[in-house]
Amino acid sequence: MSAFRTPAGGRIERSQPVSFSFDGHIYSGFAGDTLASALLAAGVHLVGRSFKYHRPRGILAAGSEEPNGLVTVRRDAARVTPNLRVTQVELYDGLVASSQNRWPSLTRDFGRINDALSRFFPAGFYYKTFMWPRLAWKALYEPIIRRAAGLGSAPTEPDPDRYAQRYAHCDVLVVGAGPAGLAAALAAASSGARVILCDEQSEFGGSLLSEAATMIDGIGALQWISNTVAALAQNPRVTLLSRTTAFGYFPHNFLGLNERLTEHLAHPKADAARERLWQVRARSVVLATGALERPLVFPGNDRPGILLAGAARTYLNRYGVKVGSVGVLVTAVDSAYQAALDLHAAGVRIAAIADVRPQATGALPEQARQAGIEIIPAASVLGTQGDLRVTSIDLATHTAGGGVQFAKRVACDFVLMSGGYNPSVHLFSQSRGKLAWSEAHLAFIPEISAEREVSAGAARGVYGLAAALEDGHAQGAAAAAAAASAASAASAAGIGNAAAPRRFAVNVAPVSVEAYLGALPSATAPAKDKAFVDWQHDVTTRDLALATREGFRSIEHVKRYTTTGMATDQGKTSNLNALAIVAKTLNLPIPQVGLTSFRMPYTPTSFGSFAGTSRGDLFDPLRKTPIHSWAVERGAVFEPVALWTRARYFPRSGEDMHAAVARECLAVRERCGIFDASTLGKIEVVGGGAAEFLNRLYINSWTYLGVGKSRYGILLRDDGFVYDDGVVARLAPDRFHVTTTTGGAPRVLAMMEDYRQTEWSDLEVWLTSTTEQWAVIAVQGPEARRVLETLVEGLDISAAAFPHMSVAHGRICGVPMLLFRVSFSGELGFEVNVPADYGLAVWEAIYAAGQAYGMTPYGTETMHVLRAEKGYIIVGQDTDGTMTPDDVGLSWAIGKTKADFVGKRSLQRASMNAPTRKQLVGLRTRDPNVVLEEGAQITASPGQTPPMQLLGHVTSSYYSPVLKSSIALAMVSGGRARAGQTLYVPMPRGDIAVEVTSPVFYDPTGARINA
């Protein structure tokens, strides 16, 4: 038994000792301990180094608000969790934890030099200090600062664990299972409501868990908790979630809960989910989130051994741990005396109680006096001593002139402090509820709810056990009633009459509302040591004063400049003190300075929990064509295109991509190739208004497009810029088959629906996505017709009968077919559309028939090279959302006689026709073997230094096997007029000279396509 463990009492299992390690030292504790309580039981307060100054830090709190005790818990290389609060890490046998932000060790930390150099690290120092030389920021300052000012390190291995997610609905969600929350859940459940009760701790009870001596309705508090939880657990309409943090409150009563399922287990089952994300839609919400004790701000208030009074009481009563041997309590409120009294009763010496108030006259101070504890009224603190642990404290008393004078130095190994309580309004604030300043509480408390929500108990400033229980019960009943009125009659059938108001008999005195805010009165001479406001981000009173001196007035600006409240604890212990100090410096009332917004998450929440199963293969849906399996068997290399997986090239043994693509390209140019174009977006536009619909939408004119013909269509947005393109075929007078880019299909359909439904309801048009109904097999090359002739049934596909851009229904291999004569390769080409289920069989039949003609399968890479040789753009690669049809050489497609189409008016703006606009051109490098980089910039002259005059950029660049030369497409300012000019592509290894050409590199007359 360690010296600091009480002989009996507390919620720990003394029959179950567990062994754990911290920074390599082996300690023992008990089941039911947290890492914090077990370390304190071993006499260890020092658990971390501060963020900026690397000051030794101890445990400040007992709950999730802990700012100092951040540790890394390691199970194995992949299960390393940094930045866990020691106060929330439940002990298990074999737990391995280590401190952070120290080197080489926690007790001998090199970074401590920052504290001595702290005059160089004031608020905003990184905005001021590291400005010069400019390049040094990236190379020198940032890496050093990042290393020095770090918290924990992320694990280096992928997370092997499973994270579950669940949606839930309820009538009443109660957040917080302290006395108010338990009473609220009881009341709501008794009226028949479906209730979810969650609490971040390992067991329900909240503050009551530290109140073993308290009686409620004649039974002990701990028994009352277990009776209450048992009653709730028996109700099938109640869901109880412990170890579950409500971390986010979103609109329409949607709350995110993070349930930790296995973190507390020594040996989690291999297949067990580690955490569960609950997304709860609640008809009404009760926030019974309690209140957090407020630290006091005085010089040297951050030494290990200095902690919140209520935390010390929790360690004693709940965990059976004395936080030291000799202590001093510094307080401004009566309630903190209970901690000193409990410790005194447990045999711990309380050397003094320094009370900031002029007199301490309440019942608890009186008990302290009777216990023989010295009380110093009108007190303040001038500083503390001790390096790795507090050894003494310098107390002062107020002088008549409003200053303070040194009173005495008191030796101690712990200091308790309390400035009263801050209601936990984080979730209320997230819900956009309106807070009101309460002068009595010296705190903000909930005033007007934005959602169907009520706060209960200490969370809304109702302090004291009896009051909190009563308030919780009343608010729970009110929440159930509100849920019933919000629900439709049928679904609310379960909720009966509201629970009647209830009183709870307790044996503790009511608590008066008291608080202290801001820094303690200080001496006129500046204190030697820093007075910390935000422990986790190392923000001191001096930093806040500096920020206001430098002109920051808004609390939001002070927050960002000093980073107060911006650490992972979001200023749970610091925000109000910081606000009060800023208000005092600015000489403004606190409500006028305002309060910074609380944001989700309430406490850090793991990425795994948000990701759930959306990782690896399940990250996104994967779309595969009917021919995918064939490509897999042929050893194709795939690439993602939107959500599709497409064959990029089909390497033969020994070939790299370059060799495979060269072979595929030449095969298409010389014989024939087969290409899976099934991913093309397809939309069927049907109805009496279909032609007019397309006339209004596309730049082209469709009125005179004959049945059985198709046309290359271009779609703009109303801002005049190219949005999508594709072949549009007329299958019947009132039926068009529209193709879109692979990636653009959903947004084109959405755009069409928008115009159809909201602008042109006069037109009779139906739109149907048929992308996945058709498999599309492109057969391209001089031999393409000969291959298909043997397979196509009932259709004359000769050059005369079926010229370029023809479309016809027919049959192939006995199945229905829609045949297009189109080409994206520049060769004689067909696209065979068959119902998707027949796609693979027809593909295999064509491929087999094609073997006599040297048919070669090719992928998207070859498709890209072939189209670039012809100067065909790819929307999204050669365009970027700022290009007009004319910019990319497509103004010929505009229906000249149309009064209007989407984007037409914008094309008439003067700037859309400026001669300096970037235009699509071809580029040929002087050295045919040099392939330009896509995205490379273009200049008019060589040897320029920044800032350069940039004329444009390369959009597509390949090596063309048929031309035995590199080719590139580029957007160049006034590019078409520059044909024949030499321009330059500046690269790290020097300028590359290029000649501006037509974007059509191959077969400019189109003889091959019309063959």
């Binding site: 329409h252 949607f254 839609r281 934005a450 928008d754 909201t758 309801s761 037409k904 008016r905 703006r909």
Partner: protein, 88 residues
Amino acid sequence: MLIIACPYCGPRPEIEFSYGGQAHIARPTQPAQLDDEAWGAFLYLRDNTKGLYAERWRHSHGCGRFFNAVRDTTTDHFTTTYKVGERP
């Protein structure tokens, strides 16, 4: 995540919908008649209201239909949703 009452399908979670910007901005019937400024205003200028705001939603993963809604931008609460062609 918001709950949005599709006038055709009833209340559904926000993930079923796509946002369509400010409501009741009709495309000019004769764009050629507009000067650049008026056309630019149609294209780009939208209200940024604090309070009640009429906006378009599409139940894209449901019935696929566009409809209008009035939402309080300070609370994200809807006061009503209504079909195209109707007034709130």
